[in-house]
Subunit: 224 residues, 2 copies
DNA sequence: ACAAAAGTGTTGAGAGTACACCCATGC
DNA sequence: GCATGGGTGTACTCTCAACACTTTTGT
């Protein structure tokens, strides 16, 4: 039998797309870039780009993320790979979607070379999106909620030290639903994942206790 | 600016690998094929193959699955995409891993053209695996347990009509842990996902009630 | 009668839910 | 003293876990 060469098989293009979530102004936001090239020139899209030959998928996602946001240390997780043959009009392009969570203040948006503009959008007021990015974003949102419910990833959207009210507000935004303050506090504290970090004196109301996350980000814990 | 062509960017090879789980002889089994070609010739591997230019990833996974097992209607779910640059010594190969669940009796193993042999292995007695397939299998196992706990996918491993004891045995095998029969029965019945299908008279002990799944496979339900 | 697996209830502990008022600070 | 968010307890309901004996059939 002949020796098989990789080039005997068709080779598609492979990209990574990174859905960057953050919370700002009491809304869940996602980073979108306006495309500077065809196809879908001028349309909004999830930031991403081609995978280099010598970098892993996760490295590619981190690289794209840093190019667009300047953020270096974020929670990053692979979501799903979208590979319908016609999803890109230029030809066969398979994209590996990632989700990144970060604190709003860490982000310094700068539109990368191939983007005309970049901006955070509230997930409840999205513009029409390029490619199959609506589907990608819906998938990411589902995963985000799942992860919020069962793991500690949410804390990657908060500053290093935070109050319990901040946690609760974040959960209320993501689930679009109010929680009872006493029950929420009781539940979060009973999980034993927080460390007391002293009292924040710099507020004009009763000074709240600050906490930090004791355990590892993304650890599986029933939050809600 | 120049028009960008896809071929301006490096194009890796893309494969799908399908982790096929089933239950037989009171063990959780997985299908492996013995590689007929280099690299890793003679080693066991998760079945899979290159994605054709005009088929979706899921179609490719279904095609590979049918080639190896003859099984047509299975539960199939995308798991994760593995893309370390050095995972295949021939060059850059990115693989999209899928998980398939099926009833043992549906499977007619036939080693595909590029495989020297194919066989079901107990997940507790695995041979050394080619590529990064050990990692892929570990990921699949984790996902399998998660899905068993929170969805109805498990029922895809049973025949169309089954007894409650069969469900319980299946869960005991996957979680490697005994459950209390009364509590298990109570929990399963309270979920309201089963339909009574009459009594199986063809046994030499007290004839059990047969059930079928009322709701959709994979639906999210707290099973355990 | 015996072997094999099916079927069936109760109790106690712990978790979740509903619900409202006082506290500490800056201005 | 008032505006702002912070902090706290109880009672009820529901779910989960522990636990063992009887039933039905074929041989």
């Amino acid at each position: 039998m002949e020796k098989i060469k990789l080039s005997d098989y068709p080779q598609p293009s492979v990209t990574v797309d990174v859905v960057v979530f953050t919370i700002h102004d009491n809304e869940l936001k996602v980073l979108l870039v306006r495309r500077g090239n065809e196809p879908f020139k001028g349309k909004w899209a999830i930031p991403g780009g081609f995978v280099d030959m010598n970098e892993s998928l996760e490295t590619a996602a981190k690289r794209e993320l840093e190019e667009e946001t300047g953020v270096k240390n974020v929670y990053l997780e692979q979501l799903y790979t979208f590979g319908e043959p016609k999803r890109d009009p230029r030809g066969r392009v398979i994209t590996v979607a990632y989700m990144a969570l970060t604190n709003f203040k860490e982000i310094k948006i700068h539109a990368a070379s191939d983007a005309a503009d970049a901006q955070m959008f509230s997930v409840s007021k999205l513009p029409p999106l390029a490619f199959d990015h609506k589907q990608v974003l819906e998938y990411a949102l589902k995963r985000l909620k799942w992860k919020f419910e069962y793991t500690t990833v949410a804390f990657s959207m908060l500053p290093l030290r935070f109050t319990i009210s901040q946690i609760q507000r974040m959960y209320e935004i993501v689930f679009n639903k109010k929680f009872d303050k006493r029950n929420f506090t009781k539940k979060i504290l009973s999980l034993n994942i927080l460390k007391e970090e002293g009292i924040n004196k710099e507020v004009s109301y009763r000074p709240p206790m600050l906490y930090s996350l004791k355990k590892n980000l993304g650890e599986i814990v029933d939050i809600i």
